[in-house]
């Protein structure tokens, strides 16, 4: 008998089953993370082991979509990392201003908070009318939520603080209408956002853009997959275009480190070389 950890083998077979049957490819995600999520799902499902999950995934579509949700982490905020958005206003907006039409891609936009934050900045800078924001994710449920633009009122206090810390000078409550426990984002913010399903692992370039934001998505990928997706971003950016990563992500360990110049090292903002 070979010295193979049974659980790990079961996990890799489960991921293979998900990929072959449903086309979602988690095989190069961070192993420790995937293991943690799968163990949690298994515990919740009441199934005895991961092999049973595999059988259920193949035969029960509802179970499969539940598992896909468990494997996709949609935690997000408006103006998350306010200092990052301050840097966007200071260092990126002047670059964007030079283009007659501005295209922005939020890759892994989750429930949309990041895209709405960007729309607010573009509106305040007087650029929104000539801007298109492509906001993509592979999680259809998150995308539908994003498109509705309805968020819990209880989050607004935190979002407002973030907005103010990011250098926002307007009244944040002007950007949405409250009704009971929820708020709905203004139509004027939604109008130039295009929501689309796109899988960073299996889909290819779909537009040429001047700014890409992909924050807190690549941390879930192994190094090999990070490199592959970085290549996709490189190919999607115009020369001189800007790439923004999450506060703990960097280009340092990727093959494309030499092809960008740092705009703001701390905030992980990079410019594609000409």
């Amino acid at each position: 008998m070979r010295d193979i950890d049974t659980t790990e083998l079961e996990i890799s077979l489960l991921l293979e089953a998900v990929y072959q049957k449903y086309g979602y490819d988690f095989r190069q995600y961070s192993e420790a993370h995937i293991k943690r999520r799968i163990m949690n799902s298994r515990a919740m499902s009441g199934l005895e082991n991961i092999s049973q999950m595999q059988s259920k995934v193949l035969n029960d579509e509802a179970f499969a979509s539940k598992l896909l949700q468990d494997l996709s982490i949609t935690v997000t905020e408006m103006f998350r990392d306010p200092a990052f958005y301050r840097s966007i206003r200071e260092n990126v907006i002047p670059v964007l201003k030079t283009y007659p039409f501005i295209k922005i891609w939020h890759a892994g936009c989750s429930t949309g908070q990041e895209a709405y934050s960007m729309a607010i900045i573009m509106q305040e800078e007087g650029l929104y009318d000539r801007t298109t924001i492509y906001a993509t994710d592979f999680n259809q449920l998150a995308l539908s939520h994003a498109k509705e633009g309805i968020f819990s009122n209880s989050m607004m206090k935190e979002y407002t603080t973030n907005y103010q810390l990011s250098g926002g000078k307007e009244s944040f409550s002007g950007y949405y209408t409250s009704s009971y426990d929820n708020v709905i984002m203004n139509q004027s913010l939604k109008k130039n956002i295009v929501w689309a399903n796109h899988n960073l692992v299996t889909d290819s370039v779909f537009a040429e853009v001047q700014l890409i934001l992909c924050r807190n998505v690549l941390i879930y990928f192994n190094r090999n997959l990070q490199n592959k997706v970085q290549r996709l971003f490189y190919d999607s950016l115009v020369n001189g275009g800007i790439l923004c990563l999450g506060s703990k992500e960097s280009l340092r360990f990727t093959d494309l480190n030499e092809d960008y110049t740092e705009v703001d090292k701390k905030q992980r903002i990079y410019k594609k070389d000409y």
Partner: protein, 192 residues
């Protein structure tokens, strides 16, 4: 026994405990130490610099995909969970909070237990919640060594007490004795 890594979970009262710990650990202490300290999501890294200045060891924030090296102390960044991969590199995630905490001690400990098996030492110090209890159990199941600070000597007794109530911890000791034990079991040659 040759231990390859030490994981430490610490919460309220942790600053003081870590200061003491790092003043006692010698410069040649080579087993890597990985720490989750519960801390506000918006705190900066100034305190790590201060700790590093006063310590014999090199203390830094853990970077995504960074390889764990001997002689280093790594601290989980605020607002991210820290996990250890089988190839002894770090992963960060922004998954939901666990035990109201991000970073969570359980998340680090459980992944560390799987990565290092019986080559791991897990330590729970002062704190006022029960994050880390599940992680310590996992470390024990995987054959690692478990140590809790003696609650009577901890600034906040609840966190080590929770571990002690849940399992048979290998050692329950005051902080100074924990450090002495670590030096003894990780650097036996120095004591011959």
């Amino acid at each position: 026994m040759h231990y390859e890594a030490i994981v430490i979970g610490v919460s309220s009262g942790g600053m003081k405990a870590m200061k003491i710990m790092f003043s006692l650990l010698p410069k040649n202490f080579s087993t890597p130490i990985i720490i989750v300290q519960h801390i506000s999501a918006h705190s900066d890294t100034q305190w790590i610099k201060l700790l590093n200045d006063e310590s014999n060891l090199s203390i830094k924030e853990a970077d995504e995909k960074e390889k764990i090296e001997k002689g280093n102390v790594y601290i989980a960044p605020p607002n991210y969970h820290l996990l250890i991969e089988k190839d002894k590199t770090f992963s960060l995630t922004i998954d939901e909070r666990v035990n109201y905490a991000r970073p969570s001690i359980d998340v680090l400990f459980e992944s560390a237990a799987e990565a290092y098996k019986n080559k791991l030492i897990g330590i729970i110090l002062t704190g006022s919640n029960n994050d880390g209890t599940k992680g310590m159990k996992r470390i024990q199941e995987c054959g690692g060594l478990t140590i809790a600070q003696d609650p009577a000597t901890a600034e906040s007794r609840y966190m080590p007490a929770s571990v002690i109530a849940a399992m048979q911890v290998d050692y329950v000791l005051p902080l100074n004795d924990i450090i002495a034990l670590l030096i003894e079991i990780t650097q036996p040659q120095a004591h011959k």
